[in-house]
Symmetry: C2
Subunit: 200 residues, 2 copies
Amino acid sequence: MSEEARPRGGRPRDAGLTERILDEALRVIIAGGFAGMRIEQLATAVGCGKAAVYRRFSTPGELAAEAIARALPPAGVVDTGDVVTDLIAINQEITRGLAPDDERHASAGSLLSAMLAPEVRPHIWERYFAARRARAREIIARGKERGQISLDVDADDVIDALSGYSLYRSSMRGVELEDAHTRRIVQLLLGVSPDALPPM
Amino acid sequence: MSEEARPRGGRPRDAGLTERILDEALRVIIAGGFAGMRIEQLATAVGCGKAAVYRRFSTPGELAAEAIARALPPAGVVDTGDVVTDLIAINQEITRGLAPDDERHASAGSLLSAMLAPEVRPHIWERYFAARRARAREIIARGKERGQISLDVDADDVIDALSGYSLYRSSMRGVELEDAHTRRIVQLLLGVSPDALPPM
């Protein structure tokens, strides 16, 4: 579910060109990182002028964030009734496109690297992470309402630790996520009785 | 405590030039990311040839990893006798140079972004994270020997979750780490009774 850039003026905009700009931006970012993206080269590659790019995206960081967000899994709604299962599901959704078991392994590292570029980070946060974080907070709030977890659970800490665990393990350490381990981390963070880990 | 590149041949090498190459590489990475680093430009900037750079560093990724590792805090030894305190100390050591409360905030994002570039990640892992991870594992093993934590604690999961929490919170979310929250996360992950969080 990609969002097209919305016109800022009154003139209708060529949606096909917007798509081509975003596709080319993603290709360039995966090949050479955010720092390797040059608007002039990108415009030439898709056959438009620099102005056509800047009419759609105010800055290279905004363009990169939009291109990356489109490549990641769309947001779904999760409510199985169990807070642990729901948090794991939304975490998988957030990190799936960035995991090394994904066939696009090399690109996953490039995408996370590009997300953390100072020019990109605020935009990808707003465009991608913020809405998913809000839903994770809702899942934790429902768990409290249902009496499944303590009212003392700090939702932000749980979300930071779970997202951080998944991204660090998959992208920095380069190791696959394993469901039983992720589940146990969630249980520990939420203060509910953890399942035993399977024997190694 | 920086490590100088070791000569691969028998000829002694100009250590001052190695330092200048590493300094310039760091400057370029902070300014424009790993993808913005060009060996030819870098060699020109420090007044040597490309061959002098490649004699010291086999690949741009290796050079970048060495330059970044030099900019991060040196490794210390931590053993207060308390596993929670020790883990927090080593985690602070690992993440300090990458936190937004550091005066080099913009550069912190650039450094983490560069670390995650596929060409750099394996080298920075080996050069920087691996030794610190080994020490964190020792701290957890000592905690088990002393009977402070359960033998069931999965050291890798705890380290991934704690490192991930700190890096995600400081670099992706852009929020300062707070000692009381980090301590509570460590306690939850280790399965020891958590302190109450201070009122907000």
